[in-house]
């Protein structure tokens, strides 16, 4: 019996001839998470346009399909890529500022790509839904009124909630024109009348939210 007891030998820890490097998997995992969070924050902070848009995570899938009463609309995912590079020397010397610099650079690069993609997508979407207005040849105020007329505006907070994308020249021009329009009682009245119509339309939309037979 003693012989049988002897045959099983697992007490001694196995000896390893070569040195294995310690890998710290919990730190590696945490690093990946922290790095992408950081890059995402940098991207949002570096572009005021992106910062105003709510973000939503995509846990799985490669396409988003929106269904509503008008049908369905497919939105394919687009990839934004960036390269993050830090010299080996910086890694060995624990140069954290160099790492941060590389990540900030990557975040800004991503922000540029995302903003470009967003503008393209907006152009495409607004063209499809008829929400693009070309103001060529029209007087400024009339152009704006027509553009707002075509826009669906919500009043969730009691105030009109809408944004317009305009070119840089028009943006500058509007900055000067709007204060002038505000001084004109006719224009002001027309604007308030438009906002009243939009508010009533919003309230009507909201009232129709009910389940019927």
């Amino acid at each position: 019996m003693a012989k049988r007891l002897k045959r099983r030998g697992t007490t001694k820890p196995p000896r390893s001839s070569a040195l294995k490097l310690q890998r710290f998997p919990s730190v590696t995992e945490a690093f990946g998470e922290a790095m992408w969070t950081f890059i995402g924050q940098v991207a949002r902070a570096s572009d005021p346009f992106l910062a105003r848009i709510a973000e939503r995570g995509v846990p799985e899938g490669d396409v988003l399909v929106q269904h509503d009463v008008r049908g369905k609309r497919r939105i394919d995912m687009q990839e934004a890529l960036t390269r993050i590079s830090v010299p080996t020397r910086a890694v060995r010397e624990t140069s954290i500022p160099e790492l941060m610099e590389a990540l900030v650079k990557a975040g800004r690069e991503l922000a540029g790509q995302k903003a470009k993609m967003l503008v393209e997508r907006l152009n495409q979407t607004t063209s499809e839904t008829g929400r693009v207005f070309s103001g060529k040849g029209l007087p400024g105020f009339e152009a704006i009124m027509q553009a707002v007329e075509k826009t669906q505006i919500d009043f969730d907070s009691g105030e009109p909630n809408f944004a317009m994308m305009v070119g840089a020249d028009l943006y500058d021009w509007l900055g000067k024109a709007i204060p002038e329009w505000e001084k004109d009682p006719v224009k002001t009245r027309r604007w308030h009348a438009l906002m009243d119509r939009k508010r009533r339309a919003y309230l009507a939309r909201e009232r129709s939210r009910k389940l019927v037979d």
């Binding site: 007891l5 697992t10 196995p14 001839s17 040195l19 060995r92 624990t94």
Partner: protein
Amino acid sequence: MLGNVLASWLTSLRERGEFEVCFRSLLRAQGYVPVGTRTTHGPIEYGKDVVAWHPQEEILYLFQLKAGDVKRSDWPDLDRQLYELAAVPYDHPNYVVDAPRKAVLVCTGQVDATVQDLIAKQKHAGRGLGAVVVWDRETLVKAYSDDLFSVQVLSEAVAIDHIRVWSHVADYGADEDDLWSFFTDYIGLLEGAGGRARHRILSGYVVAVAQLAQRYLSTGSSYSAIDCAILGAVVFYGALLRHCLSRKVAAVYCMTLRELLTGLLQGLADACESDQTALSDLSDTRAGLEEMFLLPLRVHSLTSKLSLLAFMKEQADETDRNTVGLVDSIVRRHPSFSHVVSERQAGSLVVTLLALLRHGFPDTARDAVVRALNWVAGHHGYPGAPGLPDPYRPIADIPSHFLRPRSRSSGPAESRPGDSSYLLPILVKFASLRGQRGVVEKNWPLISRTTATEYIPRDETEMYSRRSTQGELRDRIYPRTQSWRVLRRQCSRATPTKYLSLAKAYPETLLLLALAYPWRAALCEPSFYLPTRGKRE
């Protein structure tokens, strides 16, 4: 030494419900199939406490169990039981009645020589059993030792937790909290236990630590195995103090833990010895950018473990300058040793520096202190500095600590004189002890902006607790203008003797404490390990 613990554990078991359960576990580990899960005791057991079928041998084993020694006075009862064991057949629907059988007397103690003689003379073979085999404590210790990592030797109260921890082991960094909870719950069984039960808990605990360390080894992580054993030892020391166990009671278990740890550390040192080229660059080429944080952790982990081995060998009267030579080589070749990324590295830093200073590598230690002090001051000493994660935070928090958007504009968070630090005062202490005035002077504007934080336990038991709800958390703001002489005097304080009762018996305990609970590193006073002072600048 593990044999002594196993012997002590076996001796502490009662036959019913304790030894019987563990014995079945041993049988399963050895390929037997115990028949039924419950044994009927009493008049109808007919001498058979446990019956097991061995599929390979196709033999039915009939075991009569005895807890403790079998004395001459036990012979009449034993003779009857052995007779019944032999004469009364074992009926079970799944086994052939006339299958070959073997009778075994299993005893957790020793069998009196006269009884052995009587057993042999009774010629039970004549009753159709063949000779009765005796498994005494020595045989059982060998059996449990050989199958240590397959058998369940735990108290029922912690068995489920043990299985859970066992099955989830991944990496010490991720498992630390679970391990600590398990060890604490297990050793907590000592509350109210006395005599034999106390020995059973202590020996079972030590075996559980060895089993979990082995589990990490089997997953290829010798570092986690060592960290697990260190944590197990520190929780054990804490329990010794909390439950006021005598040194005599604790000695065998302390020695076994020391032996386990030394064995694991020696395995790592052997790997280093056999692969010295790998020591010249501990960078992991397969890792990504996270390597910036991993390399300092890796270097610290390896050097502190080798340093600990050197201390433990010294305790065993083995001189081993070679191991510290490896530490010296690693520290010199890796500037990242001084580039601490978390104050949690305080423990490994202290242990490594002490080993270098104690074993004749003062220059390497001094250089490392200068570099580390410059580095840490650079991370703490200016308004809005990122600081370092405090030692209580797990290493997994390191990346998120650094990778967070940080405003450079002044704000409420940056208006403080400086971040608090547990590590900076330790470095200042080492620098002042070694007379390195230059580096302290150079960094004083930065050091003096830092709040030095330290926990002062009320007694030794609190010192060995992981987080204490009592004691003093002391914030010390350095004066703007400091006297070098006063600073040196403050830094050269000796550890109060009220903290040293355990360390005097087992000098490695303070080092283990610093490694397991790095927030206690400041209590690992250099004066305890470095009685003589080195040269001054």
